[in-house]
Amino acid sequence: MVNLLLNENMKIYRRLRSWMFVIGLVLTVIGFLIAQQYSVKPFQIANADWTLNMQKQIDNDKQMLANMDRGADWKAHVTNRINVNQYHLDRHIPPTEDTMWGNVLQAADLIIVVTVLTVIIAGDSVAGEFTDGTIKLLLIRPVSRSKILLSKYISAMGFALLLLIVLFASAFLVSGIMHGFHDLGVPYVYASSDGAVHETNIIQHSICTYLFQAVQMVMVVTLAFMISVLTRSSSISIALSVGIMFAGTSIVGFLAQFNWAKYYLFENTDLTQYLAGSPNIPGMTMTFSIAVIIVYFIIFNVFSWTVFTKKDVTA
C-alpha cells in the first residue's frame, strides 16, 4: 500500500501541472487579498480608530432595537452583536476584521478554488489512466483493484490537504505583510447561542473555519472521483462535478422552503450554519448534517468501488 501511495504521489508531484496549480493558488490568494484590502467596507471611516467605528455600530444597533421589531431571532442576533462589540471595547481587543486574521478568514472562501483544482487532479487520476491506456499496465500487477483505487483516493485527498495548507499559509503571509504581524495573538470574540460572550484562540478559530469549509470540498472531490470511475472520462468528471457543485450550492436557499430538502447534500455541507446558530432548514442539527454527509460519502464510495473492481477494462 505504501508503494502504491508513492506511485500515485509520484504521478501527481512529478508533473508540472500540479505545481502550476499550487502557484496559481498562491497568485489567486494575493490577488484576492489585495482586492479585499482596497474594497470599501460599510460603517467604516477611512483610517479611523477602530474604537470609534465600534462605538458607532453599537449606537446604531441600540437605536435599531428601540425602533424596530423583527422577531425574537433578530433581536437576539442584534443583542449578541452589541454584547460582542462592547466586550471588544471594554477589554480593548481590536475586531478580527481589522487584524490580519480578518483577511485569513476571508481567504477561506477560496477553498472553492482548492476544490476545483483537486477535482481536476482526482478526476484525472482515474479517468486519465483509461484515456491514456496506462490502466492496462496498472491493473495487471499482483495488487487488488480496491487498493489501487484507495491509493488514488488518498493521494487526491493528500493533494487537497497540501493546497489547503498552501492556501492558509499564503493567506497568513500575505495578510501579515499587508497589516503587519503585530496583532498576531489577538483573541477571537464571539457570542454562543445562550447569549454569553466568549473569547477563543484566533489561530484555532481560523483553522476550524478552514476545516468546516473543507467538508464540502471532500464531498465534491468524492463525487468527482465517482463520476470519473463511472464515465472513465476526465473532462466529463471534471465538468460535471464542478457544475454540480456550483449549481447544487446555488439552489440551497431556494430548496430551504421544502422540508425534504434537509436530506439534500448541499443543505448539509456548510457546517458553519451551526456556528452561527441558524440552520438552513428549521429542525436540522449538526449531528443530523454529519449523518447525512456520511451516508452520501458511503454511497459515492461504494459506487466507485463496485464499478472499479468489477468492470471489464476495454480502454
Binding site: 506511485n7 491514456d132 491506456g133 499496465l137 491493473l139 495487471i140 500487477r141 499482483p142 468489477k310 471489464d312
Partner: protein, 306 residues
C-alpha cells in the same frame, strides 16, 4: 514434457447475449513462442485481456502455472508480463520513473534488476528522458522492459513488432528466442504481420469469430496441403504446356512465374523426363510453399487480418 505454463480451459466470454469467445481450449508449454492469429474482431484481444485479468471470464478458466487467474489473481498474474495493445506509459514521467512505478507494484524487483532490464532493451541513453519524447520503437522497448521486470514465466505481447524497424524486429526476435530457450519462459504473441509469426513462432493458434480454428506447429501449419503447386522455368513454356497436358491427369497453366502445375514428388520427376524428351530446356523446378498469408486466408475465408 513439463506441465504447461498456460492452460486455457473451455474459455467463454459473453457480453449481453453476444458470444465473444466460444469454448477455447489450448495449452502453452514452457520455452515456447506461441502465435495467436485471427482476423479483426475474432476475439484475440478479448482473450488476451482475459489472460491478464482485465476482463472477467464468463465460463471456463485460465491457469497460469496452475493458478487460476480468476480465483488466485495475485499468484497467477505475478508470473505474467504483458503489453496489451500499445505500450502506453506515463508520458509526463521519464522512462526510468515508469519502470520504478511498475517495479514498486511487484515484490522483489531490485534497482539492479531495473538497470539490467534497461540494458537488455538498449535504452540506457534515453532512460532519464520523458516518455513524451520517445519514438514508437523506444516506447515499445520500454513496454518490453516493464513486462520483463519481475522475471515472468509467461510473456504476453500484443502486436510486439508494431513500430519497430527491421533491425529492431530482428533484435526482438533474437531476444525472445533467447528468453524461451535459455530461461524457459513462454511467449505468447499476437501479430498481424504473418511473415513475422512465421519466423518467430513455434506453434500458432488461429481463432475466428471467437472459435478456435486450429492449433498447430508452424511446420505442420506451413506444410499441410503443400503437395500443390510446382513451377517449371523453361525456355519454351507454350511447348512445355502442350507436352505436359498430353497426360489428361495433369493440371497445368501458365503464370507469370512460369509453368505451374499440381504434382506430387514422383510426378515431378516423370513430368521432367517428358519435357526433356520433348526437347524443352528445363532451367529450374521450384515447389512453391504457400506463405502463412495464403494459408491464413484459406483458413479464415479471406477476411481481413488483424
Amino acid at each position: 514434457m513439463t506441465a504447461p505454463i498456460l492452460k486455457i480451459n473451455n474459455l467463454t466470454k459473453r457480453i449481453g447475449n453476444k458470444l465473444i469467445i466460444d469454448r477455447l481450449n489450448f495449452e502453452v508449454p514452457r520455452g515456447e513462442i506461441f502465435g495467436f492469429l485471427g482476423p479483426n474482431g475474432a476475439g484475440k484481444t478479448t482473450t488476451i485481456r482475459m489472460m491478464v485479468g482485465l476482463m472477467s471470464i464468463t465460463e471456463g478458466d485460465i491457469l497460469i502455472d496452475g493458478e487460476s487467474i480468476t480465483y488466485h489473481f495475485d499468484k497467477a498474474i505475478v508470473k505474467v508480463g504483458a503489453i496489451v495493445e500499445n505500450p502506453e506509459m506515463y508520458k509526463y514521467l521519464s522512462g526510468y520513473r515508469n519502470l520504478i512505478h511498475f517495479a514498486r507494484m511487484v515484490p522483489g524487483v531490485t534497482k539492479d534488476r531495473i538497470d539490467d532490464v534497461i540494458r537488455l532493451v538498449g535504452l540506457e541513453n534515453r532512460i532519464h528522458d520523458k516518455v513524451r519524447t520517445y519514438s514508437l520503437g523506444m516506447r515499445q522497448r520500454l513496454g518490453v522492459a516493464q513486462a520483463l521486470l519481475h522475471r515472468p514465466s509467461v510473456l504476453i505481447l500484443d502486436e510486439p513488432t508494431n513500430g519497430l524497424d527491421p533491425a529492431g524486429i530482428r533484435e526482438l526476435r533474437d531476444y525472445l528466442y533467447k528468453l524461451t530457450r535459455e530461461e524457459g519462459i513462454a511467449v505468447i504473441v499476437s501479430s498481424h504481420l504473418l511473415s513475422e509469426m512465421e519466423l518467430m513462432c513455434d506453434r500458432v493458434a488461429v481463432i475466428q469469430q471467437g472459435k478456435l480454428v486450429t492449433v498447430q506447429t508452424i511446420k505442420e501449419f506451413m506444410s499441410e496441403g503443400t503437395h500443390g503447386s510446382v513451377v517449371f522455368d523453361v525456355d519454351n513454356p507454350d511447348m512445355a504446356l502442350q507436352i505436359l497436358t498430353e497426360d489428361p491427369s495433369v493440371q497445368a497453366r501458365l503464370t507469370e512465374k512460369g509453368l505451374e502445375c499440381s504434382l506430387d514428388k514422383e510426378q515431378v520427376a516423370v513430368a521432367n523426363g517428358r519435357l526433356i524428351r520433348g526437347g524443352v530446356k528445363v532451367y529450374e523446378i521450384n515447389r512453391c510453399s504457400p506463405t502463412l498469408e495464403d494459408k491464413f486466408l484459406k483458413i479464415t475465408g479471406g477476411q481481413s487480418i488483424g
